[in-house]
């Protein structure tokens, strides 16, 4: 086993990996940028090394700095988390060149799967069903028109190097093709430094279902069941669940075996996820493979009873998978809510700032993977994911009721969060009926939310407002009467404060 693991990440995932290291008795070192000195992962680590400015390119994405910390700390393995360097083949190669184990797949496997067009070519060879389209970038407008006419509109233009919805365009008819192609190309070039764009048949309102796989370094590959990830905004996942309501044991086996074939075709090792689009007739098509631990891995952990981070570390240390495919059972149901610092009333615009009150839910069937604490300021420099609230129950209905209850217990004060979005999703009739597809959230958010004014609660609020003022005044000798919007940490003269209070009498 490893002597020490360096975690090259931040936020909730760094804390998640730290917890696994603690559980396994492996000392853990972390890196942090100037914006993260006060972050939870630094507080919880055994060793913490500063790596420079807040900008990720000068800290969390800087390969030489991270390898230098690995050497100085004596770490013999690096866990990359997700995002940042987790899917960077150059980084995986640099680790291996430096004699440090990268906890993830090899650089070769990443390269084979990293480009969407190259992955399509490999999958065609492995007889994996793909969304009809081209397996290489289109050269010209004429070629694009020919291909699009052959596979039939609507079509989707996609950047070969893409991700996160960038460089993607939906084209409904031949007339829109030329300008969409130009737009996709320039966006791809700007975002990824590569303007290769290919064409796929657009599957209208598909489900997005992915399959977790695990492969050890001795040729054993298993699948751990699917995750339903159809609830998305701007191509970003918002809520995930396992199992999917439409996947029966036979479909799970077929999808799982396909995923294993994908992984084997790329000589894949460690944890990975094969993403599929599923159409209305439950046909599934290979979309891409994510060569990292996913944000939503906890739902799979809850329904399989396995710890994916432990297994990642064991596999990287050269151990064999401790079970076979037949041993894996799906039990119960799990749903994850991604809690973000963003403002639901302002088009989900990021809302960083100081968390001045944090009440966290607990109780039966609730898991909270967080990277925050009360008094911490959410930095403006990174993805504003605060925590993942995961519910588990015997079935989908019980899981939904547990999560709804937990959301009512959850309070994050001082910043705006999307907690209310999840209350709304979990109340939604179509969600209860599991009628999900990737257009679900946009449709739900287009409907105006019905808010009935509660006059009785408003009266209680009025009484509470007065009591807050009165109790603060009598208990702490200071007034919280409003109108004064000075930040509370601004030092103020006691004389001035006393004078003000006199004036209030």
């Amino acid at each position: 086993m490893f002597k020490k693991i360096l975690i090259a990440n931040r936020g909730e995932i760094a804390v998640r990996v730290l917890r696994a290291c603690r559980e396994m008795g492996i000392p853990a070192a972390v890196v942090y940028s100037d914006a993260d000195r006060a972050s939870l992962h630094v507080r919880k680590a055994d060793e913490a090394y500063p790596i420079g400015p807040a900008a990720a390119s000068e800290s969390y994405l800087n390969i030489p700095k991270i390898l230098d910390v690995a050497r100085r700390s004596g770490a013999d393995a690096i866990h990359p988390g997700y995002g940042f360097l987790s899917e960077n083949a150059k980084f995986a190669q640099a680790c291996s060149d430096a004699g440090i184990k990268f906890i993830g797949p090899t650089a070769e496997a990443m390269e084979a799967l990293g480009s969407k067009t190259r992955a399509r070519q490999a999958m065609e060879k492995a007889h994996v069903r793909l969304v009809p389209g081209t397996s290489r970038g289109v050269e010209s407008n004429e070629e694009a028109e020919k291909v699009a006419a052959k596979i039939g509109y609507p079509v989707m233009l996609k950047a070969a190097a893409g991700g996160g919805g960038k460089g993607m365009r939906l084209v409904h008819s031949a007339g829109e093709l030329k300008s969409a192609l130009e737009a996709a190309r320039s966006e791809a070039a700007r975002s990824f430094g590569d303007d290769e764009v290919y064409i796929e048949k657009a599957i209208v309102n598909p489900r997005h279902i992915e399959m977790q796989v695990l492969a050890d370094e001795h040729g054993n590959t298993v699948y751990l069941g699917e995750r339903e990830c159809s609830l998305q905004r701007r191509h970003q996942k918002v809520l995930e669940e396992a199992p999917s309501a439409i996947v029966d044991p036979d479909m799970r086996r077929r999808m799982g075996e396909t995923a294993v074939r994908v992984a084997k075709a790329a000589n894949y090792t460690n944890a990975g996820t094969v993403e599929f689009l599923v159409d209305h007739d439950k046909n599934f098509y290979f979309l891409e493979m994510n060569t990292r631990l996913q944000v939503e891995h906890p739902v799979t952990e809850l329904v399989t009873g396995l710890d994916l981070v432990h297994l990642q570390i064991r596999i990287a240390a050269g151990e064999k998978l401790p079970f076979e495919q037949e041993d894996i059972q799906i039990r119960g149901h799990a749903i994850e809510c991604r809690i973000y610092a963003e403002d639901p009333d302002n088009n989900y615009f990021p809302s960083p700032g100081k968390i001045n009150l944090l009440l966290e839910p607990s109780g039966p069937g609730i898991r909270l993977d967080g990277g925050t604490y009360e008094g911490w300021s959410v930095p403006i420099d990174y993805d504003p994911l605060l925590a993942k609230l995961i519910g588990y129950g015997a079935d989908r209905e019980q899981t939904i009721s547990r999560l709804s209850r937990a959301l009512d217990e959850y309070f994050i004060g001082g910043i705006k969060t999307n907690v209310s979005l999840f209350r709304r999703i979990l109340r939604d009739e179509a969600f209860h009926a599991a009628k999900l597809d990737t257009g679900f959230l946009d449709r739900m958010l287009k409907q105006a939310e019905i808010k009935t004014p509660d006059t009785q609660a408003a009266e209680i609020a009025a009484i509470a407002a007065g009591l807050f003022a009165a109790l603060n005044q009598t208990d702490q000798g200071m007034s919280v009467i409003t109108g004064d919007r000075r930040p509370p940490d601004n030092p103020e003269s006691c004389w001035k404060k006393a004078g003000r209070q006199e004036a209030l009498r």
Binding site: F349, P350, S351, P352, G353, N356, L357, L359, I380, D381, P384, L407, D408, F411, G413, G414, S420, R423, P453, D454, A457, A458, E459, I460, A461, A462, I463, A464, A465, G466, L467, F468, A469, A470, L471, N472, Q473, T474, D475, I481, T482, G483, R485, P487, A503, L504
Partner: protein, 164 residues
């Protein structure tokens, strides 16, 4: 203690008097006896009769907010006898500060000092978390002063401009 309380725009007159462990409360015309306990800063446990409530308070750039379960109420509290409350009525006519609602960086100025502007017009564009946000004028008037320039880093609450 006497307070003027505004909840979601509706005004109430609230009188609170301590009676031993409890509070005698007169809200508008109603009288209630209340058991109130501040269980920790910003969290109030209330019993009205035997009905129990937990209320959280939160102060943001939009003022005071109170949460009862998942319902949120914006609140204003003032002491009608205080000097500040009496003078506050005039405030809306005076100059207004444009403050940054979150930490970020000024990208662009959309107006110059001296410009006449309408309520709701964009004044300054601030970038935070890689997204740009247009800060709008709360009132019709004239740009009195601009205190930032493109590139300035701002913190939540920093005054960026003054509109009169």
């Amino acid at each position: 203690m006497l307070y003027d309380v505004t909840i979601n725009g509706k005004n109430h007159r609230l009188e609170l008097n301590r009676a031993g462990e409890r509070w005698l409360c007169r809200l508008d015309a109603r009288e209630l006896e209340i058991d109130a306990l501040l269980v920790r800063p910003h969290v109030l446990s209330l019993r009205i009769g035997n009905l129990a409530y937990e209320i959280k308070s939160e102060r943001s750039e939009n003022g005071l907010q109170l949460w009862i379960g998942s319902a949120c109420f914006s609140a204003e509290v003032s002491d009608p006898r205080s000097l500040r409350s009496r003078s506050r009525a005039k405030e809306d006519q005076g100059p207004r500060k444009i403050t940054a609602s979150m930490p970020g960086k000024v990208v662009r100025l959309l107006v110059q000092a001296g410009d006449s502007i309408e309520a709701g017009m964009g004044i300054i564009v601030v970038e935070a978390m890689k997204m740009q946000n247009e800060i709008k004028s709360p009132k019709k008037g004239k740009v009195e002063k601009i205190l930032v320039s493109p590139g300035t880093a701002v913190n939540a609450g920093d005054v960026m401009a003054i509109i009169d």
